[in-house]
C-alpha cells in the first residue's frame, strides 16, 4: 500500500505558524487511537461507538518545527447532527463565533467498511478546507481478506489517502507529513462533485444522500475487493452472545465471574496492602511520643487513608474487567442484547453503554449519554444513571459485606460474599430500570426510537492500552485518596478529638475514649443527627459516617476507621480488622452490637440508592440543560434517590425486625 497522494508537494510547511487539525469520521473508526498516536496523549479509547463525546485537543511538533494542534471530535454519521455529541463535532468543523474552523481536516475511515466514512468525506470537502483521508485499521482489513488499491483510491477520490494502523503507529509519520503539506494547499475538489455534478450543500437530504452513497459505492467497487463472508469465528460467537436465550445467560455469567473475581482475586493483594498500612501505623505509634500528632497520624491519616487505599486491588480489577469488555467488542453486543429489555422500560438501547460505564464512574457515564439523540430519552437515562453502582461504592460494599456476611459458599463454588456484591449491583440496575419506567410514564412521555448500532469486530484486548487505562483510572483513585480523603481525614480527626475532656479517675480507657468522642464537635453533630437515622437502626457514629459521605461516598470507610481508631487502642486497623471491629463494636451504655447484620443490610441498600457525589450532581445539572432547568432535574434526581435510599433502608430494617432478624 502506498502512503502518498498526488496533490501533496513536499516541503511546503507554513514556516512555524501553528496548524489546526480536526479528526473527524464515523464512530468507532479509531479517531481517538489516532489522536493518541499523533499527540502522544492517552485519551480513553474503546471498541464501541460513542467513546468520545467531547472535543479534545492535543498537539505535536511537525518536522519543520511548526506546532500542529489536533482536535479529536466525537464520531458522526453526517454533517447534519442528530445528537449532542454530533453537534459538537459539526460545530468544531464549521467554526463558531469564538473558534476558527480547522486548517486541515483528517477524515478517519474504517478500511474494512469505508462507505459511511467516505460519505462523510463527500460532505467535509464542501467545507472548503484542505482534506486528508486516513484509511485506518488496514491491518484488520487485510486479515479479513479485504484488498485496497490505495493509488487507485487516491485517483478516484482526488485527495490524499494515508493507510494507517493507529494502534501500532503504522502510517502515523506519513499522516503527520501529509497534514503539514496539506495545510499549504487550497481545498481539494473531491471527484464526487465533478462526476456526480451535484452542487453539494453539506446537508443530507434524501436525494443528496442517495447520490453521495451511489458515488461512494462506485468508488469502493473500483478500488476494493472484499471476501463474501465475514470472519467466521466472530459470526459463530455472535450466534451465541446475541441469542435471545443464550445471550442474557452469557451476560449474567460474565457478570458473575467479574464479581466473583473482584472478591477472590483481589484478596491476597488487599491482605498485602493491609500488612503495609498496619506496619505504617505501628511505626508511627512506636517512633513518636504520646501526643496529638501521633494520634493524628495513626488514628486520622493512616487509619482513614490507609483503609481506603487497601481497596485499590479491587478497584483495579473492576477497571480491568470494564476495559476488557470495552476493548473486546462485547460491550456493543451487550447493548444490542439489552435493547429489548430496556425498550420495555422506556430506555433507548443507546443508554446501555453509558449505564454499564456507570459501574466505573457516573460522571463520564452521564457525559456518554450525549450519543442519545432524543432529549427525553437522554434525560431519562441521566436521571437513573447514578443508580448504577460506581467504583466509589465498592469499598463501602466490601467493608459492610465483610462485617455482616459470613465467608461461606453457595452452590459449592460461589462465595456468598461475592453473590451479595452481585446482588447489590443488580439491585441498583433493577432500580434504574424501574425508575426509568416511572419517568417515562409520568414526566418524560415519548416513544422510544429504534436502536441501530454497528457491531465492531471482535478482537483480543490490547494489553498495553488495557493496562494504561487501568493504571490511569487506578492512579486517579489513589490521587484522590492522597488529596481529598487525606485532607478530609485530618479535619475529621480534629473535629472528633476536640474539645478535649479529662479522663476520670479509674475510668476504663475505652469508656474514656468513647466519652471524649461523644463530647467532641463531631460527636455533638452525630447526636444531633441521630434522631433522623434512629428509625433505620443507626446510632450517632453511623449518623456521622453517613453525613460525612455526602460529599464523596468513600469517606464513609475512612470516617468509620477514624472513629474506631479513636475509641480503641489497637493500632492494627486494616480493612479486615476494621470489618471485624465493626462487627463487635457495642454501645457503651446498652452493650448492644451496633452494626448487626440487619443494620448492615439496610446500610448497603442505603448506599446502593443514595446519590452522594457532588461531581455527579454538578454534571447532571449541566447535561440536563444547565441553568434553572438543569438545577431542577438535578434536585429531583438527588431528592428521589435520597428518598429511595432512606425508604429502602427503612423497609429492610423494619421488615427484618418483623421477621425476627437482628
Amino acid at each position: 500500500m502506498m502512503a502518498v497522494g498526488p496533490s501533496v508537494p513536499a516541503g511546503t510547511a507554513q514556516g512555524r505558524r501553528a496548524i489546526r487539525v480536526a479528526l473527524v469520521g464515523n464512530s468507532n473508526t479509531g479517531k481517538s487511537t489516532l489522536f493518541n498516536a499523533l499527540t502522544g496523549l492517552r485519551q480513553h479509547v474503546a471498541n464501541f461507538p460513542g467513546t468520545t463525546v467531547e472535543r479534545l485537543e492535543g498537539s505535536f511538533l511537525s518536522s519543520s518545527g511548526a506546532r500542529v494542534s489536533v482536535m479529536d471530535l466525537p464520531g458522526c454519521m453526517s454533517l447534519t447532527p442528530s445528537s449532542p455529541d454530533e453537534a459538537i463535532a459539526v460545530a468544531a468543523l464549521r467554526g463558531t463565533a469564538d473558534t476558527e474552523p480547522p486548517d486541515v481536516i483528517v477524515v478517519v475511515v474504517n478500511a474494512q467498511s469505508p462507505e459511511r466514512g467516505l460519505f462523510v468525506a463527500t460532505q467535509v470537502v464542501e467545507l472548503g478546507r484542505p482534506l486528508v483521508v486516513a484509511l485506518n485499521q488496514v491491518d484488520a482489513a487485510e486479515r479479513s481478506g479485504v484488498r485496497i488499491d490505495v493509488p487507485e483510491l487516491i485517483h478516484e477520490l482526488g485527495v490524499v489517502v494515508i493507510p494507517t494502523v493507529a494502534t501500532r503507529g503504522r502510517g502515523v509519520d506519513a499522516l503527520r507529513k501529509a497534514i503539514e503539506s496539506a495545510s499549504d494547499l487550497s481545498a481539494p475538489t473531491l471527484r464526487w462533485r465533478a462526476s456526480a455534478g451535484a452542487a453539494g450543500t453539506g446537508e443530507a437530504g434524501d436525494d443528496d444522500t442517495a447520490q453521495r452513497y451511489a458515488w461512494v459505492h462506485d468508488v469502493v467497487e473500483r478500488t476494493m475487493t472484499r471476501p463474501v463472508a465475514r470472519s467466521r469465528w466472530g459470526d459463530r460467537l455472535d450466534r451465541v452472545v446475541l441469542h435471545h436465550v443464550a445471550g442474557p445467560l452469557v451476560f449474567l455469567a460474565i457478570m458473575a465471574v467479574v464479581f466473583q473475581a473482584i472478591f477472590t482475586w483481589a484478596q491476597p493483594l488487599m491482605d498485602g496492602m493491609s500488612v503495609l498500612v498496619n506496619a505504617l501505623g505501628g511505626l508511627a505509634t512506636r517512633s513518636m511520643g504520646d501526643g496529638p500528632l501521633r494520634s493524628l497520624l495513626a488514628d486520622g491519616i493512616i487509619a482513614g487513608v490507609g483503609n481506603v487505599v487497601v481497596f485499590v486491588p479491587q478497584i483495579a480489577l473492576l477497571f480491568l474487567f470494564i476495559g476488557v469488555l470495552e476493548d473486546s467488542g462485547y460491550m456493543a453486543r451487550a447493548a444490542f442484547l439489552m435493547d429489548r429489555y430496556m425498550r420495555r422500560v422506556g430506555l433507548p438501547g443507546k443508554a446501555f453503554i453509558p449505564m454499564l460505564s456507570g459501574f466505573a464512574c457516573g460522571v463520564p457515564a452521564i457525559l456518554a449519554t450525549r450519543t442519545i439523540e432524543d432529549r427525553k430519552d437522554r434525560l431519562a437515562t441521566i436521571m437513573v444513571l447514578p443508580l448504577m453502582s460506581c467504583s466509589a461504592r465498592l469499598p463501602i460494599y466490601t467493608l459492610l459485606i465483610a462485617a455482616a456476611i459470613p465467608a461461606t459458599t453457595v452452590a459449592g463454588f460461589l462465595e456468598l460474599r461475592a453473590v451479595t456484591l452481585l446482588a447489590l449491583y443488580l439491585l441498583g440496575t433493577v432500580a434504574a430500570f424501574g425508575v426509568a419506567a416511572l419517568f417515562r410514564t409520568v414526566l418524560l412521555r415519548a416513544p422510544v426510537r429504534p436502536f441501530l448500532i454497528e457491531l465492531p469486530a471482535y478482537h483480543l484486548p490490547r494489553p498495553r492500552a488495557l493496562l494504561l487505562s487501568v493504571w490511569h483510572r487506578t492512579w486517579e483513585f489513589l490521587r484522590r485518596a492522597g488529596t481529598v480523603i487525606l485532607a478530609f481525614s485530618v479535619v475529621l480527626w480534629a473535629l472528633a478529638s476536640y474539645p478535649r475532656h479529662a479522663s476520670l479517675q479509674g475510668e476504663p480507657a475505652a469508656v474514656s475514649a468513647e466519652r471524649q468522642l461523644s463530647g467532641s464537635i463531631l460527636g455533638r453533630v452525630g447526636h444531633a443527627l441521630e434522631p433522623a437515622v434512629r428509625p433505620l437502626g443507626y446510632d450517632w457514629k453511623l449518623a456521622i459516617s453517613i453525613a460525612a459521605s455526602f460529599g464523596a461516598r468513600e469517606t464513609f470507610v475512612s470516617t468509620m476507621a477514624t472513629l474506631n481508631g479513636l475509641t480503641t487502642d489497637d493500632d492494627n486497623l486494616t480493612a479486615g480488622a476494621l470489618a471485624d471491629r465493626l462487627r463487635e463494636t457495642r454501645d457503651i451504655a446498652t452493650g448492644a452490637v451496633i452494626l448487626t447484620p440487619l443494620v448492615a443490610a439496610g446500610l448497603m441498600v442505603f448506599y446502593v440508592f443514595a446519590l452522594m457525589c457532588s461531581s455527579t450532581v454538578a454534571v447532571s445539572m449541566r447535561e440536563a440543560g444547565g441553568g434553572r432547568t438543569g438545577l431542577g432535574w438535578a434536585a429531583l434526581q438527588f431528592a428521589y434517590m435520597l428518598t429511595l435510599a432512606y425508604g429502602g433502608a427503612w423497609v429492610v430494617y423494619r421488615a427484618g425486625l418483623a421477621l425476627g432478624f437482628s
Binding site: 472535543r55 485532607a487 478530609f488
Partner: protein, 52 residues
C-alpha cells in the same frame, strides 16, 4: 507540657489548617468550574490537554 508535646501540637494545628484550606480552595474551584467536563470523582475520564 513537654517540648515534644508542644511541638506535636504546633505541627498538628498547622496540618489541620492546611487541610481545611485545601478543602476550601478545592470547593471554591469546583464551584467556579461550572463549564468544565473534568471529572472530580476520581475517575478523570481523559487526560487531554484541553477539553470543551
Amino acid at each position: 507540657m513537654s517540648d515534644s508535646f508542644t511541638m506535636q501540637l504546633v505541627v498538628t494545628v498547622a496540618v489541620v489548617l492546611v487541610a481545611i484550606g485545601y478543602l476550601i480552595v478545592r470547593a471554591v474551584r469546583a464551584a467556579r468550574r461550572r463549564n468544565s467536563a473534568a471529572c472530580d470523582c476520581g475517575c478523570s475520564p481523559a487526560p487531554a490537554e484541553r477539553r470543551r
